[in-house]
Symmetry: C2
Subunit: 220 residues, 2 copies
């Protein structure tokens, strides 16, 4: 997915969308509409979401693989959900993956990928000046995704990409804090500069700081 697509599709990462049942159920678990411990009866879901049992069962298997529900044979599916502890765990894990990803990406990034990163960073500067928060959310995702790709490690890429969904639903950053966009821009600049210098240690340090600051920016 190119940076242009990220900008143009207009999906700011905050609306439902939910193109399929799996995504809808995932959303409903992550937002707490379906509560932990609750039993998900297939027929109930059929009625609630107006689909037949076949797609329901497929979605339940997917959610099970993701760890959002537990499927007990012949008994049914039970919501596991995300506890506050899980969210904390997720942030902690994600931080270390992101740092690892930067380290590997700086060592392995291609010329072409670096140009894409550079272009994306310039978009960041532009939309920070224009103070366009929705655009920035998309560009931010693109920036990180480029790094994931540049690790050339399929499993790490897949893992970090999958976390984007969760990040959306955990209490969001305080976008409207003074200097939010400017602060974020400078953190990304540090990361970008490390890539430019092909300095993995500097990159790891910059990403570590970015992750710490991200957490501190969370609404309490």
């Amino acid at each position: 997915m190119s940076i242009i697509q990220y900008l143009e599709d207009g999906k700011t990462g905050s609306q439902p969308l939910s193109t399929n049942l799996y995504t809808e159920l995932q959303e409903d678990i992550l937002t707490g509409k379906l509560k932990a411990g609750q039993k998900l009866t297939e027929q109930k879901i059929c009625n609630e979401y107006n689909v037949s049992r076949t797609p329901v069962r497929e979605a339940l298997r997917q959610l099970e693989m993701e760890g959002l529900i537990e499927n007990i044979p012949n008994r049914g599916a039970f919501v596991i959900g995300f506890s506050d502890q899980d969210i904390a765990d997720m942030y902690e894990l994600r931080s270390s993956y992101e740092v690892l990803a930067v380290r590997w990406a700086i060592d392995r990034i291609t010329e072409e990928e670096f140009n894409e990163l550079e272009e994306t960073f310039e978009f960041m500067e532009f939309y920070t000046m224009k103070n366009d928060i929705n655009k920035m959310l998309n560009i931010n995702m693109a920036f990180h995704q480029i790094i994931y790709n540049a690790t050339h490690n399929r499993m790490l890429n897949q893992l970090l990409s999958s976390y984007q969904v969760y990040l959306k639903y955990c209490n969001p950053s305080n976008y409207y804090a003074p200097n939010y966009l400017a602060d974020v821009l400078e953190e990304h600049r540090a990361i970008y500069e490390a890539f430019k210098a092909r300095d993995a240690e500097a990159g790891a340090l910059a990403m570590t700081r970015h992750m710490e600051n991200s957490r501190n920016r969370k609404r309490k």
Copy 2:
């Protein structure tokens, strides 16, 4: 799962088992029986594995979540499989997760969990003396699993547990090298001692070495 169960179920981690379709297909992809790029037609799988389309579709969704196949809407499922690069990636990733896990586990392990780890290590010593490789494979899995649990981080636990499956199919360790069991025992002893001393740095170092040596023990 207790250490006793690990010992008694007799599953040495090298036979098919494959209790369900998903596991069977997973195995067939990881062993290369189903090749990368190959199209998986639902009806073909039905005939091959003697099941109807409903469980087939469930399995395909699970495999997709795992990243072993790609599901293109209205087109079908295509095997992605594990390239040599993916296996290398997996080892590299797993190493850093394991080190991270030890760090966290040493800080968070409960008295009860530590006792379990201690008991497991004593089983290791015993079966090393008896030179029982099959038992050792199971105990080894148990030892690592206890560490995963002791992180008290559900996502990291889930992630590392899921890798156990892949490890089984990537070219196996050279179990019959001289001193294999003795070497492995000493590496685990270092890890265990770090837990006993509640020394996270020593644990991380010991696990790093264990991971390096594991890789070097691979058959070429």
